[in-house]
Symmetry: C2
Subunit: 387 residues, 2 copies
Amino acid sequence: MDNFSFYNPTRIIFGAGSVPRAGKEAKKIGGKALLVYGKNSIKTNGVYAQLTESLKKNGVEWLEHPGVKPNPALSHVREGVKKAKENGCGFIIAAGGGSVIDESKAIAAGANYEGDVWDFFCGKARISSALPLITVLTIPATGSEMNSGFVVTNEETKQKYSSGSPFSFPKVSILDPETTYSLPKEQTAYGASDAVCHLIEAYFSTKDSDNLVTDNFVHGIVKSVMKSTERIMKDPRDYNARAAMMWSATLALNGLQSLGYKKAEFTNHAIEHSLSAIYDMPHGLGLAVIMPAYFRHYVKKNGPERLYGFGREIFGITQSDPLKGAEETVKALENWLKGLGLKIKLSENGVPEKDFADIAANAMGLVNLWGMTITEKEVLEILKLAK
Amino acid sequence: MDNFSFYNPTRIIFGAGSVPRAGKEAKKIGGKALLVYGKNSIKTNGVYAQLTESLKKNGVEWLEHPGVKPNPALSHVREGVKKAKENGCGFIIAAGGGSVIDESKAIAAGANYEGDVWDFFCGKARISSALPLITVLTIPATGSEMNSGFVVTNEETKQKYSSGSPFSFPKVSILDPETTYSLPKEQTAYGASDAVCHLIEAYFSTKDSDNLVTDNFVHGIVKSVMKSTERIMKDPRDYNARAAMMWSATLALNGLQSLGYKKAEFTNHAIEHSLSAIYDMPHGLGLAVIMPAYFRHYVKKNGPERLYGFGREIFGITQSDPLKGAEETVKALENWLKGLGLKIKLSENGVPEKDFADIAANAMGLVNLWGMTITEKEVLEILKLAK
């Protein structure tokens, strides 16, 4: 087990009927809010009404910044920063999924900075303060509601880059599983794929498996995501399954999932970000395509033992030959993803083989920025395994 | 899954060689420290030298308050409060196990209060502020290094009572697994018993098992505690096992273990506190005696299903008859405890049956204070099952 630090001060308010608690939390912070959201979903699912009602009740003023895209765009972030600065907003309320929260974190940092907010993504500047942030989560997937990272896409340069800081943890995050009843099935599937991928990135970054605590933590939360999404697909109004999925997705990337591993390389994410940046592919779908290919490549490179061990724990696979056990694990993962209705090949998702070299070249931008060890050749191999 | 709130702002610094980081953390807080510890163990295992060296290096002044007992005594807490007040200490450093940290939390709260610190334990007053606290943990067991609760024994009234507040989270906790190399075997065993008990209290407070996330979390950390202590008993210098045990014991009571359960009744703890208060029995040993009896009583009252499910996950027990499965689970737990060298019957630990009525009466003080549902008759039944 490697040395680590852990710090996560986000307060979680979890459960049915908790959205109206936003007003009181906002009042505690004080000042005018910038309310950030996406398109219409928070208006049709009742979140907007509950939230603004609670703000009014608590005498909290707010200004709106709607229109966040699934892969939040830098231009829209810049608009939000401008609004927050010009109107003296003292804090941000994010109501939506991971994209809305990520854009809100970027605005929160940008509003306290004189330069251009993209400086925080390309390594030109470090975040040294940010406006307080309250989130009301409606899509369990990215874990952004309880961590300090965020991702924004620069449309001009086709770069989907990340940033983060200790100042970027949400102050309070409100998670009401009932807000997810109305999620389209594919959104639930994307979220599940994303959460599982968060859990496996650090776990498979190291061949050292002598980390009983985090290994067991990862196994438990992966199983919880898989079991709960299977139940949701059968009955979208299964409250306990919605709740388990929502809390699992948060725990999947709140820091606990990587503690004590020597490395935490986000290989699947680095490759997927290129698919999102170039094809505007939904993040969870891109990961569902990359993960099985990544695992097949992993086995070639590192041997089958760790993946087979994972398969034993997650899928109950038993095989005398570890190589067969590892391959069965990948197949079981593929079957789970397909069971969620996802198309798990690049060709099925409109990404032609002739583009692979460009995708790999694009991915290397992030690989280098994040200081990862995978080579362009290996990225290409993974893409080919996913064709 | 029930609604919940979660908040845990303690910063963890974990790993070999991390004790000297205390000085820098202390300097950040500023002012004079009250250094609280027990007897000689931190002097013989090198923690005292590393810690005070780092304080000197960072120009941090301190005053010492040694002599904390395994079940920290109210009189000694009062002395500490007096010292902190009279010498204008601005923060506390706790170096030791759960008792040292608990006493330090009590002093931290008492130092900012005009009345008697026992007011916080008997329900007479609420903690509204506390001095900042840095902990250097040397015995993995109580989880106090990452939660807001603490326990003190009033020697005059024989009451082992608890208190807590959002102001009582340690600011920083330093966990160096190497400091546990020199722990006597029985201390390791007590810690393991305590950690497992923390994990099962809320889990078995409810018959509702439809909480995939926390159930899986509990299973994973229980397995980690059991596996790592088995390894430690074979090889006390197995670093990864020491590390897994240390981090597991922290996670066993940092709040995550009870999220979403309808109730979190600390039945085993309420009964054990009476054993500690009356016989000065080590806490983990008392729990090792009570737990198997508690489970047998649990099955009579609630049926075997949940306990058998736990046994399937933890010990791999398979039985067509759930009742047999549940009994096998208790036996497997007993075997694990005995394997750690613990005597798991009251009679073996010098507690005669003629005292049972007095113990049960004493336990009801805590049962009522904590608002728990177990009756005095049931406590007596559990004691008889443990005789």
